[in-house]
């Protein structure tokens, strides 16, 4: 049965279009401002300020960054390494944990799940954590300090458990057990292949965390060659010393020559580029993950 649309529906829809469009513009505008500034000449920014459309088009910001690519590439390398290794290890452990915690014949699953969940309610705080990483595990100034802190979170483990519960029917596991497969073989041969969409979603959550992490570098890394990309960018924005070294490295005189403003913005684009390029692809998995998490979590 089709009911004719009344005028209130039309009004409602009109408001919806306007508000959603305005919201989208608000969300996009800051990125356009950065992009525009990165494509402007430094001189035009100094005189006219940041604008939505470049007044004088120029690629000088990007040129300076890529004239001294060593540091940028190293920071990229650190972040890429940490992201890949951290995501793989985290996924391995969290899929195993998620699988075990949803096995109905595993008697203490609720106890262990609560032990994990409790850490979201209570913790030692930042100072004891810093002392743990720095003084006891001695991870400072190593890749361990960048990988360890975000390796697993209670939220992702619970999400993984929900994913596996919904993707793998209990009967499949039971019949494999009757066929004599041991629990690890079941996990490896049956559960993992069935849970691929969940793996992708949780892998992306992890990877995004590692890619965007700057805090671990700020806390535990003093050797600039081991800075993550985001912290490298943070330093460009926040230290003038840094600009001096860039200027010297690029063979430009300090006072006038360094296009500092455009360079900051170009660096921001270089750092965020991969996320923006992959966004249409990864966004779908996130939406799926949030939906499963909200319904079952």
């Amino acid at each position: 049965m089709k009911i004719k649309e009344d005028s209130s529906t039309k009004w409602f829809r009109l408001i919806a279009y306007i508000v959603v469009l305005a919201g989208s513009i608000m969300c996009l505008l800051p990125f356009l401002l950065i992009l525009s500034a990165s494509l402007s000449s430094n001189a035009s920014i100094m005189t006219d300020g940041y604008r939505l459309i470049p007044k004088e088009f120029s690629l000088e910001g990007y040129k300076v960054i890529f004239q001294i690519p060593d540091e940028v590439l190293r920071a990229y390398g650190v972040t890429a390494f940490v992201t890949v290794v951290g995501t793989l290890i985290g996924l391995l452990f969290m899929t195993m944990a998620g699988y075990v915690l949803q096995r109905k014949d595993f008697k203490y699953r609720n106890f262990f799940a609560f032990v994990i969940y409790f850490t979201t309610l209570f913790g030692g705080g930042l100072v004891p954590y810093y002392m743990l990483i720095n003084n006891y595990l001695k991870f400072s100034n190593s890749m361990y300090a960048l990988i360890w802190p975000g390796l697993m979170t209670p939220f992702l483990i619970i999400l993984m458990r929900s994913f596996i519960t919904s993707a793998v029917p209990d009967e499949v596991v039971e019949s494999s057990k009757i066929d004599g497969a041991n629990d690890f073989v079941i996990y490896y041969r049956i559960v993992l292949p069935l849970a691929v969409p969940g793996l992708a979603t949780i892998g992306l959550f992890l990877a995004l965390h590692y890619w965007n992490d700057w805090f671990s570098s700020a806390m535990y890394i003093s050797d600039a060659s081991k800075y993550q990309l985001q912290f490298y960018l943070y330093n460009i924005i926040n230290t003038s010393n840094f600009l001096n070294s860039i200027g010297a490295g690029a063979g430009v005189t300090l006072s006038e020559g360094v296009p500092s403003e455009t360079m900051k913005m170009s660096m921001a684009i270089v750092v965020t580029g991969p996320i923006l390029l992959l966004y249409p692809f990864i966004q779908r998995y996130f939406v799926k993950g949030l939906t499963v998490g909200a319904v079952k979590g």
Partner: protein
């Protein structure tokens, strides 16, 4: 005795499962449970050259200093105040936009705008600080360019702490509302068409349908999100505050929260006594708050309780 036998038997029959769970449990033990021992740091005189249990025990002295600094009330109020506003405005905005977006018929328009609204969630907080710099810096910032073009005097927002209350709320919403909007949107998609058809036959207009059908149907989702948010009401969006404000002392009165205070004491001013005491205060206060809230919810409706 019987119980112990049960555990051993369980260990034996499910040894592979235990083994698979081991790395995770070990991780949480080291990463989360061991630092709880470190709460003792708040009760000693910190000394980098000694190990924890060899430092001088000073009782509550660190807490006394923290209390006398007069910061505690301000920090607590800021932390809780911001979180309450974030929770309220965040949910109102996400629910509103989710309802509006669900009304849109054009498939492409719907998909593209939904993606754009979710985009800020994906970029790092460092980019947020680039954006803030781009908008607000005194000489080249967009804000001042616009003000000057409209014939106003430029404003140095970095010396106006009150303004930052709005900036922080706005950027919190900008960065985070897409996340809960996606969750609400999924919930709306799950509401049966029949409700709306029936309401139409009864003569309800589009606004009434949204208010009397959609909004009540989102109650469950709202409660779940609310409880998660209440659980971390003493922890506040450290990344957001630190990347927006940094170490700008002029703005602390309105923008300093417990997280930023602890971080600064630890990494910038190296005041370990303050850092440990404030950290323990934050953990204990937060935990107590969760227990109380959970007990109240348990009384009202058992199904909604966190544990």
């Amino acid at each position: 005795m019987l119980k112990k036998k049960g555990i051993l038997r369980e260990l034996y029959t499910n040894k592979i499962l235990f083994f698979m769970l081991l790395p995770t449990m070990l991780y949480f033990f080291i990463n989360n449970y061991l630092p709880m021992v470190g709460i003792y740091y708040a009760f000693v005189e910190f000394d980098f050259n000694k190990s924890l249990f060899h430092m001088n025990f000073v009782g509550l002295k660190n807490f006394e200093f923290l209390w006398k600094s007069g910061k505690l009330v301000e920090l607590t109020l800021n932390t809780i105040g911001y979180n309450v506003v974030f929770i309220l405005l965040g949910n109102v905005l996400s629910i509103t936009v989710a309802i509006l977006i669900s009304e849109i018929k054009g498939k492409v328009f719907k998909k593209v705008t939904q993606s754009i609204l979710f985009l800020p969630y994906f970029v790092s907080f460092v980019i947020l600080s680039v954006i803030v710099f781009n908008l607000f810096n005194y000489e080249q910032g967009v804000l001042n360019s616009v003000l000057q073009q409209l014939g106003f005097d430029p404003v140095d927002v970095y010396s106006k702490p009150k303004l930052w209350i709005f900036f922080i709320i706005i950027f919190y919403l900008w960065k985070n509302f897409g996340y809960s909007m996606v969750i609400y949107l999924a919930a709306i998609t799950g509401i049966g068409e029949d409700y709306y058809e029936a309401a139409k036959i009864d003569g309800a207009n589009a606004f009434q349908r949204a208010w009397h059908i959609t909004v009540p149907m989102l109650k469950n989702t709202f409660v779940i999100l609310l409880l998660f948010a209440l659980g971390s009401i003493m922890k506040g969006q450290f990344d957001l505050f630190y990347q927006m404000v940094g170490n700008n002392g002029l703005l602390y009165s309105t923008t300093d929260i417990l997280d930023t205070y602890v971080y600064r004491s630890l990494r910038v001013t190296f005041d370990m006594g303050m850092a440990t005491a404030a950290g323990v205060y934050q953990s204990l206060f937060g935990f107590t708050l969760i227990m109380v809230v959970n007990a109240i919810i348990r009384k009202i409706n058992k199904d909604y309780a966190l544990f």
